[in-house]
Amino acid sequence: MSWEVIIGLEIHVQINTKTKAFCGCSTTFGAEPNTQTCPVCLGMPGQLPVLNSEAVQKSILTGLAICGQINLASKFDRKNYFYPDLPKGYQITQFAVPLVEHGHIDIRVGDTEKRIGITRIHMEEDAGKSMHEGLDGVSHIDLNRSGVPLMEIVSEPDMRSADEAIAYLKQLHQLVRFLDVSGANMEKGQFRCDANVSVHQPGTPFGTRAELKNLNSFRFIRQAIDYEVNRQIELIEDGGEVVQETRLYDSAKGESRAMRSKEEAHDYRYFPEPDLPPLQVSEQEVASIRAAMPERPSQLRQRFENEYGLSAYDADVLSQTRELADYFEALVACHETDSKRCANWMANELLGRLKEQGCEIDHSPVTPRALAGLLDRIADDTISGKIAKDVLDAMVEGGESADAIIETKGLKQVTDSGTIDAIIDKIIAANPNQVAQYRGGKDKLFGFFVGQVMKASRGKANPAMVNQRLKNLLAGM
């Protein structure tokens, strides 16, 4: 039997505002527990929410970037449930009328482009954190995260494989970072994913879905989806039936377990939040947010190809993050003569070295100007590309400039024909047999002579000149 996989994703994105969604508390991650709280986000009696307009603007920006419809009048609702890290006993969220609807994102898997529909983006507040592990039977609650603004981005069930789901996620992850609406750090819980997964046979209605929760890395998301797809197919093929339920993925065991069934599902008793008037945004406000929209990754890739003549591959690599793209453009600005050389050296040499050191581009010990300094020396033949790689190693290691390293290590390329001729003469004199063979027609030996000369010059002789002079001198000219 052939099975088709149906996947829809719900992504919670923390909006990177300075203050919380409904109060003035800081949103900085990692502070001492319960130090970033106030009566509002602690749910104290009589306290009232006031909506953070920056969070609204960033949600609108995201909505525009996914080509969504911005609802000029949206509403907030209360989602009621009890949990100790939910201070008010309800979450303020947009249920009935979200801020954004009907958007999409285009993804590419292999050679296939595909459009994934985005049903809605709604604003809501985060809950705090409960900690149960290693506390000897008691639980601790940290409400620093309580009230941090979130966007929930809900896709259509348009994905047909884990690959497509991952491509969509990565695209969205990249987008929110480019828009500077979220840090989207998955380890810090700034970008969290729930997946709705079902299987069916093409041409028949969709199967019953299971909702997978607690997917906090791209790798786990893929594993959890694959696990769930196999579980459902095996279940059905064994004559069983998929039940609608919420499942928790355990990344340590590589399996999921049922958390609650449809019957056990909460009745959240949504109703309009009476403490907040409907959210009204004007056409002008939307227009000005649209006008100030930063470049999106897809536009940037295109521009890198057109403006700098980069290959699709290099353009993709260098547009992965805003920081990479900024570095590249700063590099080109310092080394205008050859943007392809910039792309090549950045993508193939610098990034590899940084990765080995576990260093992000924005903390690179080699600044764009410094790297351009190295590329300048290649361009003016001061050093060869091969030597340049050694110089770059030293730059990453010690943070010195290319010129200083070339100077102190004496790596400057030898381009003086007299010096080169002198080396060649010595090699010819030391290898009479090989000279005779070469002159007798064994052309292959030319490489041997080049190698000997470069070795004798400790790599510093200009390779083009070595070639030219060797040819002449071996010919006895």
Binding site: M44, P45, G46, L48, F82, P87, K88, F271
Partner: protein
Amino acid sequence: MAYSTLHQLADKLDSGDTTAAALAQAFLDRANAHNGDLNAFVELDAESILAQAEASDAHRQAHGARPLEGLPIAIKDIFCTSHGRTQCCSNILRDFHAPYDAHVITRLREAGAILFGKTNMDEFAMGSSNETSAFGPCRNPWDRERIPGGSSGGSAAAVAAALAPAALGTDTGGSIRQPAALNGIVGLKPTYGRVSRRGIIAFASSLDQAGPMTRDVCDAALLASIMSGHDAADATSVANAPAVNWLTSCLRRDLTGIRIGRPKEYFVAGMDAEVRARVEEALSTCAELGAEIIDISLPHTEYAVAAYYVIAPSEASANLSRYDGVRFGHRCDNPDDLLDMYTRSRDEGFGIEVKRRILTGIFALSSGYYDAYYKKAQQVRTLIRQDFAEAFAKVDLIATPTSPVTAVKLGENRDDPITMYLSDIYTIAVNLAGLPGLSQPCGLANGLPVGLQWIAPAWREDQLLGAAAAYEAATAWHQQRPAAFDDANQGGVA
């Protein structure tokens, strides 16, 4: 002096006849003497009150008087105050100390007022009799076997018995106006959005509004002028609300050219005949003062109580979820697990009426019932708003009874919530429509006070106060006092 108005007391303070400290001590003496009978105050910290009063006298000396300089104002136990306990008359908030002042309290402090104790109320303002208080019922000064009304019963009784010259109340479905009527004082519920709700413990967020409870109309205007104003920290507090000339509105002495609507749905069989008679007499007085009395209809009135008892409990069911024993308030002893902690803490902490309303609200919002209850109630609310809008196209003000009956005996409706709910029949629609309403004394029925309710279009508190002031000037009902407390010859303040 005990039965002086705020204005009269302010004059005495300004002229140097008395000091804030002496005034505070005099009212403390009265309160201490009578609170055992009435149970109007649940918190009365003499030390804090006298300290405030001394600070006020010093401020007057150094900088002159502020608008409420040295005037004692009793505070309903629903307003959070950074000093003393705020318990909302509930065991779940027993001994709770709020680390902040309500916005209204801040404004009162800045105006020089003396926060004069916390008054009894129905638990979480849920009730019309003050009998649901965790601290026992407050009693009506006119007859201590009777209820003072609710939920702001303690505030009303304190003013009626002259244990304080004025008080703050809150009104979700009539909780200022009904006890004001039952105690023979003035109670004003401003337009929704006029007064910040921040720091007032929420019952039903879309209906709650704080207001003054005073001896006369002019005092209500004075307190309202201080309480009102935009608060950026309450998103439902309206910025740029139409301004009111609070005190000059009270100078009106005739009703020439005023069209007063008399809604036929508010004068029906079943209401106390004496109450009806007093209100009809009041309308005649208004006509003599030059008003035109016009019969109007508010056709959806009969659905107001039902809609209210869906909407208010629904909002309350969520508003009261924060009392979970986790961060503050009552937590049960030795919970077995989380669920046990929640259920036992809340079971022990909430009284029967609060539980009834939480359950009603949860039911109304439940999946499968939402459309039939909550949504339908909101539709009714829209129709009630439209009723008023259509009426106010024809009239400037609406006049009705505040309550269909005078104060009933303690315990009379205790086991009959529906009858108790129906006692709010004339006040509830005003909250559903967000309008300003005022109750003032208009005589006695069977020896008990009767309230005349005025309703105005949104933001037209000036109309409300003007008409009430003109009526008050032409009558003497606001000077009626409960005999047991009118002790000019028993010492005390006088």
